[in-house]
């Protein structure tokens, strides 16, 4: 302890092992314990996020060693005026629209079914919820095999009628249908859960009162049931729209965006731009445009959540 600085003396009066003792002090134990997680989060998430945001304003390619030069909003301009981008947005919109509608319809019908008691209800409910619990990759692989022209179940089934193998993914429409069915299969249970929660929250005596008041089935649904599930339905639509908008895994595994670019969603397109064409700056700009869309949708979602809370309270 030849040259103890004033700082050392203040922080660790005990002397030896000064820094360690200072670090382990009770009031710093909490921050210390969360530090590893914060560091990982920063290195893996926050830094790349900010860095890529910066990159979107520079001319840069990840596979070259050029010094990035500042170009301002040029890549945003280029992305927004690129007809390919708008084409992929359209593809995404078609997939999102049809998949969300399909999920809503199926989820809603499932919820109506599971809202009443019947034998084996619990077991069936677990089975129906299973797809939601699977990973995207396994769902993708399932459906890829299912659609397989030579030995896939679908093709075998169709060929018993037509005598020819059926190539669903061969046409643009067929490929989109294939993607939508896979996504809807996976996520209809989610819509069902939300709607079911709403259906269960309707007090039974309201239906009895309505029965005494001679309300028809449709009127009962419209004036009693629907108001209870309305906000939950909105939540389901928004949540599924946001999620499907980012759809990547299933598409990439089943069709890789094909045939041609028929099923190339905006997420797959961004991936290609970034890691196949290595237009890093352009993909960053595109990613931030997507982020912006998702943030708008998320805010709508949060607004809906808040409204539901107010209604329930």
């Amino acid at each position: 302890m030849a040259a103890a600085s004033p700082h050392d003396r203040m922080a660790a009066p005990e002397g030896a092992g000064g820094f360690l003792a200072w670090l382990m002090a009770p009031e710093r134990r909490g921050p210390l314990l969360v530090a590893p997680a914060v560091i990982v989060l920063f290195v893996m998430n926050i830094f790349p996020l900010l860095w890529s945001f910066g990159l979107s304003f520079f001319n840069y390619r990840a596979n070259r060693q050029d010094v990035p030069d500042f170009v301002g909003l040029r890549f945003y301009e280029r992305v927004l005026s690129d007809p390919d981008v708008w084409d992929r947005f359209q593809t995404t919109a078609v997939i999102v629209g049809s998949s969300v509608v399909l999920q809503l319809v199926i989820g809603f019908l499932l919820a109506l079914m599971f809202a009443r008691e019947f034998p084996l209800r619990r077991i069936l409910l677990m089975l129906v919820l299973a797809p939601m619990m699977l990973s995207f990759v396994s769902v993708g692989v399932f459906f890829k095999l299912y659609y397989e022209p030579t030995f896939g179940l679908l093709s075998q089934f169709v060929s018993t009628f037509t005598g020819e193998p059926f190539v669903l993914l061969g046409t643009p429409t067929g490929a989109i249908v294939g993607i939508v069915v896979a996504d809807a299969w996976m996520w209809s249970p989610f819509v069902m859960l939300l709607v079911l929660a709403g259906l269960v929250s309707v007090p039974k005596y309201l239906y009895e009162a309505a029965e005494i008041d001679r309300a028809s089935w449709w009127r009962r649904f419209r004036t009693i049931t629907f108001p209870y599930i309305k906000s939950l339905l909105l939540l389901a639509v928004l949540f599924r729209t946001i999620e499907t908008f980012k759809l990547f895994d299933i598409v990439y595994i089943i069709t890789e965006g094909g045939p041609g670019t028929a099923t190339e969603t905006i997420a797959v397109f961004t991936y290609r731009v970034a890691f196949q064409f290595f237009r890093t700056s352009q993909s960053s700009a595109l990613a931030y445009i997507i982020l912006f869309v998702v943030i708008v949708l998320t805010n709508l979602y949060l607004y809906a959540v808040k409204r539901r809370e107010q209604e329930v309270a």
């Binding site: 007090p203 004036t223 209870y228």
Partner: protein
């Protein structure tokens, strides 16, 4: 026309029997009360009449028609639920109009009737609000209005005052009487509160274990309860039920309860000496002081006073017989008298033999 007959109705939920041979009749235009503690089957009875419960056995006839298996919608009845069951997402006006939708009533007529009902119930100022923004009393009146608007032949009321506070209950009791008088509608009213039944009912059916045990006017129920169960249910504070035995007395037979024998009322004299009894005595029938002209005077000790404002309830102990333990009873005195009697003081009370209700010791059935 709107005559209701329930005959031998039973309803079982699995192993639980909710209704077990329920029978009673309600005359047209009558205000009929079903009185019983919770789980006696009152709600199940009303729900069965409305058609919300399937019967395990029995028959329900209404307005000269067998409606046992008729659908709920076709019965021409309205019901007011304990929870009010207002449609939370509709305004008061829409709640009122709800039952008229199916009636093929035109818009002008709906508007007229909504106006009529809201005037009758004095809720005109709430018409464009949602039920959740209204007070309990207002919600209650909306529920009544929705039931009345279709002009049902029979109105079923399932403990409609249970969810209201004491003051509102009092006001609403008067309201129900007024409505019944003004509309002349047949009303079947279920309640666990004897006060509601006594003040409103023209006739009362006392329920126990899924059946009606006694049907009578309020006065008759009060004066001659059929058994100890009804005696304990009707009247407040509840009738004192004391152990007694018939002994040989001065003027024939007497009931010994604790300290002394009391001459029996005439008409009960054919009881054999030694018969064990339950003696019923209303708290209001015990008189303060010595009055040998009116009955037998008994010594008692006041061990608790409950001042209620206008009257005071005294908890009495008769005698201190170690073998049997002291016999306890409640009596009611006017406040100004009660204020003079401290806890622990010894008093004399007079009991008129004519006021005694005698019940069989085991079955509880009324003897005289």
């Amino acid at each position: 026309m709107a005559h209701l007959r329930v005959s031998d109705v039973a309803r079982r939920f699995g192993a639980v029997t909710a209704l077990d041979g329920m029978s009673f009749e309600v005359e047209e235009g009558e205000f009929y009360c079903l009185l019983g503690p919770s789980s006696a089957g009152k709600t199940t009875t009303l729900r069965a009449i409305a058609g919300l419960e399937k019967l395990s056995r029995g028959r329900i006839e209404f307005a000269g028609r067998d409606v046992t298996t008729a659908p709920v919608q076709g019965r021409g009845m309205a019901m007011i639920f304990q929870t009010f069951a207002l449609y939370p997402h509709l305004t008061v006006r829409q709640n009122f109009a709800y039952p008229l939708e199916r009636e093929r009533v035109d818009r002008a007529e709906i508007g007229r009737r909504v106006g009529e009902v809201s005037e009758l119930l004095r809720v005109g100022h709430t018409l464009d609000r949602k039920p959740a923004t209204l007070s309990g009393g207002e919600q209650q009146r909306i529920a009544i209005g929705r039931a009345l608007i279709r002009r049902p032949k029979l109105l079923l009321l399932d403990e409609p005052l249970t969810n209201l506070d004491a003051k509102l209950r009092h006001d609403t009791r008067a309201e129900f009487k007024r409505l019944h008088r003004e509309l002349g509608m047949t009303m079947l009213y279920a309640t666990p509160d004897q006060l509601e039944a006594l003040t409103m009912g023209q006739r009362i059916g006392v329920m126990r274990g899924g059946r009606v045990v006694q049907i009578d006017t309020p006065r008759a129920l009060y004066e001659a309860p059929l058994d100890t169960y009804v005696a304990g249910l009707v009247g407040a504070p509840a009738m004192n039920l004391l152990p007694g035995r018939v002994t040989g007395g001065q003027g024939g037979l007497a009931v010994d309860f604790g300290v002394a024998g009391i001459d029996l009322a005439p008409g009960a004299r054919d009881l054999a000496a030694g018969t064990e009894l339950v003696v019923g005595l209303r708290p209001h029938d015990i008189r303060l002081g010595r009055d040998s002209a009116r009955g037998r005077t008994v010594d008692a000790v006041v061990h608790l006073r409950e001042p209620l404002g206008d009257v005071t309830v005294l908890d009495l102990r008769f005698g201190a017989i170690e073998a049997r333990g002291a016999i306890e009873a409640k009596m009611v005195v006017r406040e100004e008298q009660g204020a003079l009697i401290p806890e622990g003081s010894a008093i004399e009370v007079t009991i008129d033999p004519a006021d005694l209700h005698l019940f069989h010791a085991e079955t509880g059935v009324r003897l005289a």
